[in-house]
Symmetry: C2
Subunit: 431 residues, 2 copies
């Protein structure tokens, strides 16, 4: 990878590349997506079946659109039993971490008769989208379903496209069953998002849609936002390793490559105070590239969006890391935890040389659905909080309201909202 000294210009250049990997204009696809959504919203199943035939080349009916128990059994028969074991072990950790995100409803009371609070209620139905295509990611199925189930959502409904044969990838089905999906529909693309957002004769309308997908799925999610809630729109994956001279270059190289292999748009950046480390990491990368199966993808992503930035000081390295706001950040430095206190923007922070990023993808327990493309400035990892909503609770006694009723009336009148003032005043009018 290119090694560059960090200065204002190189920082801006690298950041620009890092943050602007996804194209921003989708006029043509947007029009297609709008049409599909309007059609499914108005014609329901009929439109859904027709788009599925057109795009997925599968003929669905009311009877075959949903995965049956029989099909789930077949899926178990088709996958390596040791994968089921690993999924179960991983689920223990994922559930345990997400259980700790649960929030309680709370109240506060004042003796004069004031009770205020916040009630936390799970959503009734959540939709989880799982992409089809060649690559199947059962780990992603777990990460999207578990927070909804832990939140207490009544019904978690998965949508994933089937093949021409009407079958769904067996490892995806097994992961869905293990994670606790309540229903699985064999639908994909913008038509699946529309079906979940508006409901059809076969597919129930949900309250929130989460999960990754291609550009049509992403645009459809953005289009239905407001009719339902959605998670953040996922861009290509990225890692930023923050390392000093104490880091093991072989490990750092392996970790950078683990993200670069995702796709050609993925980004891997090393920010280091040590030029010597930078050079050794580059050597290790060359070594690994001889043997790794996805070396073509890796080479392209490293060429396009990979970089090593060398800084004069630790403070500069940390500032650069915050500026990038990466999806995954590894800190392999002396006093890693102290450095972490200075990190404001990152989806997940991996500390120390045995906390390799794939540990988080598969096993540790925190969610691997993380904000990309610098959105860690304002978005958070997918969590139990994504599947609950809150209601404020307000109770005042006569005594408590009487004490302040003139203040409220004045405030309302100042905003010319006289019926607001009246609704308070009427409670204290003389009979």
């Amino acid at each position: 990878m290119k090694i560059v000294e960090l200065n204002e210009q190189t920082k801006a250049e690298v950041r620009e590349k890092f943050l602007n990997r996804s194209p921003k204009q989708f006029g043509e696809q947007e029009a297609v997506v709008k049409q599909i959504i309007a059609d499914v919203a108005s014609r329901g199943d009929e439109a859904l079946f027709s788009y599925t035939e057109k795009f997925d080349h599968a003929k669905l009916t009311k009877e075959t659109i949903e995965v049956t128990e029989e099909e789930t059994k077949e899926a178990y028969a088709a996958v390596d039993p040791s994968l089921v074991e690993v999924i179960r072990k991983s689920l223990v950790n994922i559930r345990s971490f997400h259980e700790k995100q649960k929030q309680n409803s709370w109240i506060t009371t004042e003796e004069k008769g004031i009770l205020l609070g916040q009630k936390v209620t799970p959503m009734e139905k959540a939709g989880v989208y799982v992409p089809g295509g060649k690559a199947a990611y059962p780990s992603s199925v777990l990460m999207n379903i578990v927070p909804a189930k832990v939140a207490g959502v009544d019904e978690v409904i998965m949508a994933t496209p089937c093949g021409r044969d009407g079958k769904v990838n067996p490892s995806v089905l097994v992961a869905a069953k293990e994670a606790g999906a309540d229903r699985v529909f064999k639908i994909g693309g913008a038509q699946a998002i529309a079906a979940l957002a508006f409901g059809t004769e076969s597919v129930p309308k949900v309250d929130k849609i989460v999960g990754p997908g291609n550009i049509y799925v992403a645009l459809a999610k953005k289009a239905v936002f407001g009719n339902v809630s959605i998670d953040s729109i996922a861009g290509p994956s990225e890692i930023l390793v923050l390392a000093d001279e104490t880091a093991n270059p072989r490990y750092v190289a392996a970790d950078l490559l683990s993200q670069a292999e995702h796709d050609e748009m993925a980004s891997a950046v090393l920010v280091t105070t040590s030029r010597s480390l930078a050079e050794k990491v580059n050597e290790e990368i060359e070594g690994f590239l001889q043997v790794l199966s996805r070396k073509e993808i890796i080479r392209k992503s490293l060429e396009g969006y990979g970089c090593i930035l060398v800084t004069d000081s630790r403070r500069e390295a940390i500032d650069a890391a915050n500026l990038f706001a990466p999806e995954h950040m590894e800190i392999v430095m002396k006093d890693a935890f102290e450095v972490m206190t200075k990190i404001r923007n990152a989806g997940a922070i991996f500390l120390g040389e045995y906390s390799s990023e794939p540990l988080g993808d598969y096993f540790a327990g925190p969610n691997h659905v993380l904000p990309t493309s610098g959105t860690a400035r304002f978005f958070s990892p997918l969590s139990v909080e994504d599947f609950v909503k809150k209601s404020s609770i307000i109770h005042y006694s006569r005594e408590a309201l009487e004490e302040i009723h003139r203040d409220i009336e004045q405030f309302a009148k100042c905003e010319q909202l006289t019926a607001h003032a009246n609704s308070i005043a009427v409670r204290f009018e003389e009979k």
Copy 2:
């Protein structure tokens, strides 16, 4: 208002009206908004000044775009000092409630060297939009700024359009100062949203934009979602009162009218088990309509979107209330708190006959920015959580990773991600 018996048909009809008050198609406005955003994003201040001149008829420069200390002083001189007092009293309650929403970062540890956690970090910059126009709502300024300040956001930046004279409404300015806005810019419309989302020479780029606005502002917020975070898109206001025969019809009528006065699209619905109450509420409404200053607006909103639904049972009434998922819900029934436990969907729940809705708008402390148009199914009141983001924290020791490294490698290989497997395996390879 029309009194109808609740049955499947009337429920569906009333709900349809209630939820579909906002038009859904904005093709023309969308095109305008897109153009403005692209222009401000590429030309910065120049475009921002030119749109401000076009739409707000005010000539801004780098020197005059921001409200000065002097202008804030003038604003204080222009408002009734007793309003400042009320604002301060209200702020005590709003801050106190929002302080209770603050979440701690947390960790869990296992002795073999596993540390997992969730770090909570405030966003750096938040943008608060405040509409201009005839009506000024200082209460809304407080409700949008306080959660950001309590969250610990470094800089809260307010945008509000100025008049032709380059001045901002004084009560809005005073509210901004009291609530703790760090900077106030005299900009409005889609161009203000674009400036906050992308930054210009004068206006800093923010991480999140909140606050109500007209259709151009709402469409602009939706368009920049992903570049920044936004709050939910606000629709017209609404109230649903759930009442039995114990309710005071005069109070119920006054409370329904307090929402109906907001605008002609506002909705006020009473769901009650008592036909006698329904009739008395209607009589009281007629009485109030003789005297209230905004009676023209109220009549139109009641005609268009007001209704009284009479149900046979309390259970049916509660189910209907949940189906509507109203922004504001009042429960004026025997055992109001018990009824509240059955409410799943509502922005804010007001309990008992002295908890009139305007108490929440102005004074009690919980936020008055609430999900509208049935989105309480999945959206929450504006809160401190809107202005923080989370990062997962993952640390494993060598010992802890060694115990499970083969599991991770297997999972990664099953997903054909061999560089992921390699980044774990490399740490345990034989030297």
